[in-house]
Amino acid sequence: MKRLFSIAVWIAVGLLGAGALGSIALHRGEPLNATWFVVAAVCCYLVAYRLYSAFVAAKVLALDDTRATPSERHDDGRDFVPTNKWVLFGHHFAAIAGPGPLVGPTLAAQFGYLPGTLWLIAGAAFAGCVQDFVILFCSIRRDGKSIGQMAREEVSERGGFIAQLAVLAIMTILLAVIGLVVVNALKSSPWATFTLAMTIPIALLLGLYLRFVRPGRVLEASVMGVALVLFVVVAGQWVADSPSWARVFTLSGVALAFAIIAYGFAASALPVWLLLAPRDYLSAFIKAGAIFSLAAGILIVRPQVLMPPLTRFIDGTGPVFAGKIFPFCFITIACGAISGFHSLISSGTTPKMILRESHARFIGYGAMLLESFVGVMAMVAACAMPPGVYFAINSPPSIVGNAGEAAVSTISGWGYPLQAQTMTDLAHKVGEITLWNRAGGAPSLAVGMAQIFSSTIGGERLLSIWYHFAIMFEALFILTVLDAGTRVGRFMVQDLGGRFWKPFGRTRWMPGVLISSAIIVALWGYFLYQGVVDPLGGINSLWPLFGISNQLLAAVALVVATTILMKMGKLRWIWVTLLPMAGLVIITMTASYQKIFDANPRIGFLAYAKVLAAQIAAGRIPAEKVAETQRLIFNQRLDATVTGVLAAMILVLIFEALVHWYSILTRRKESVLHESPYVATLWAADYSGTAHGDD
């Protein structure tokens, strides 16, 4: 009877999800209520978790709770710490959830709400969650080894080296593109710039408190820090209202780029306890609070989604970024559906803290479902504003013109009515000088979030405070990724340099620290600067480059996962990782080819370089702009080379894997699985489920 009831409930959840998805997909005409998005996403996630993840756990991976996990065997209270599954879920989610699932869907909203929403849900259920879950499982079975180490052992020596190089390249592009998102969010905004600048002294204060006054008392320090950050969000208004202070904090894109580059260098070279760690604590609390508030706000306000399901820009002529729905919708959404970067976390800290193998399903698969839900909420927030306003904020001046009537007529001509006064009023209400041409996703997401928050608390009176809270939230945790990523990049550079000259590899040798920090900062700083001065808006070139590199890393992770499944003798179920891998390879290779060779200069790097070169040759570029244009040509060729090298690296790895698979299947080579030996858990008898989150 109980079983029948359970089946009936799950059929009802499935039908509700299918109905809601059908409403989203087939709805035309009147605006759609956001509740449908929440219902569709939650029901699909529940069904995917209950059925698909259970199938992967039982049939494909055969999780074994009698086997001791690394945290039990190596329990040292430092790296290997047995952790309650709910706490570890929180840890893992805080680590994987970055700006990607917020910015990606916001940018992809230019195609309309439908393609992005469908890919966020389906991509997560069948690709992203599977990748995180399987890689977590593989790392647990290998004492918490990283994806690079697993690639080296299970695929080939060269495969591991390629994976490590790919991580460094991806890190460089990632840091540049998120830096660009921050620049575009703070440009000409004294309020937002002041608020974010003040988080640095607050973090330093917290760092000193946690180091010398009350060592390690993270909770009390974070409460003080969050209170101070909220205060500076409000105080930013006084700065913006004061002409002399507003001038100090009104910075151009280039000035902001250099400020962020200097910050990245300082965070990498200074002791970690002084700036980086306290910022991370602040960011973690504010991130959790803002995401929870956004979910609650959407459920309470239930806004109307004003963006149509599909816009005219599915043909590839989009103003935010150029390119057709395939492959660019997938490349742009990136982290909200599947992120290669997650494989670094799933094979990093989490496997060393997991208590039982069965928890991998909840933590690996479940946390990614939650990240996908964050992506759906970002999509709702972006699509809840009038499409005309969305395109006015996100389009670069080279497409729509510099504000005013020309831009209004271009956007209205696309079929998305807009009035110049609407933009002026909106900018005034949110406390900004202008909202025109603020590409990058962050300002439009902040407007969407602020409208939802202010409909819940405070009304229009608090719109400016909510807007700057949202900007601060996005910028704060983007900078946390930027400084933590720069530091990890520094270690990678030192590791690489240490192979040629030993002292350089010593992480406490100050000249090595400074030089390696300068190298990694120069690498991503160059791409950031290039994005800031790009007449097409920077996001048009850098975000697809980031998406391609991220999805290529996911393909690497799935190659490793497929190889391991094959070696485990799970040939029957190999499609679980093989199909998403094949899909990603097709998507990323198509996108790479188009970004390099497409004849449209807004898509193809080489075509754009050619157009610029032709303009110089024809004498259409003023003499004083020739050097600048030549730099732009060089940058386009550099982007084309980077894309080509990344794609080539992955093709080499796939070729290596195919040769390896062939050898295994034809039994030319013995299939050696590098798992740690089975050790029975000693916790079975005195195991307390309640204490470890099994209740």
């Binding site: 706490v87 970055g98 700006p99 990607g100 390690g216 946390t480």
Partner: protein, 66 residues
């Protein structure tokens, strides 16, 4: 009524413990309790030493994602 109060108190205690564990506030206590620390011949770190050592380890590998 008493049962409800007890349940609420248990839930709040558990939430508080989870929150401290999640943000790293109780990391030093966990370190002192761990088998590795208790059976190790090395000197047990002070709270301040442990805090700095733990941060240096945590931020030397990818721990924040895009």
């Amino acid at each position: 009524m008493r049962h409800a109060a007890k349940t609420t108190s248990r839930v709040l205690r558990r939430f508080w413990r989870g929150l401290r564990e999640w943000c790293g506030d109780s990391a030093y206590e966990t370190y002192l309790r761990s088998k590795g620390t208790q059976s190790s011949p090395c000197r047990t770190l002070t709270r301040a030493e442990f805090y700095v050592e733990q941060l240096n380890r945590r931020y030397s590998r990818p721990n924040r994602c895009c």
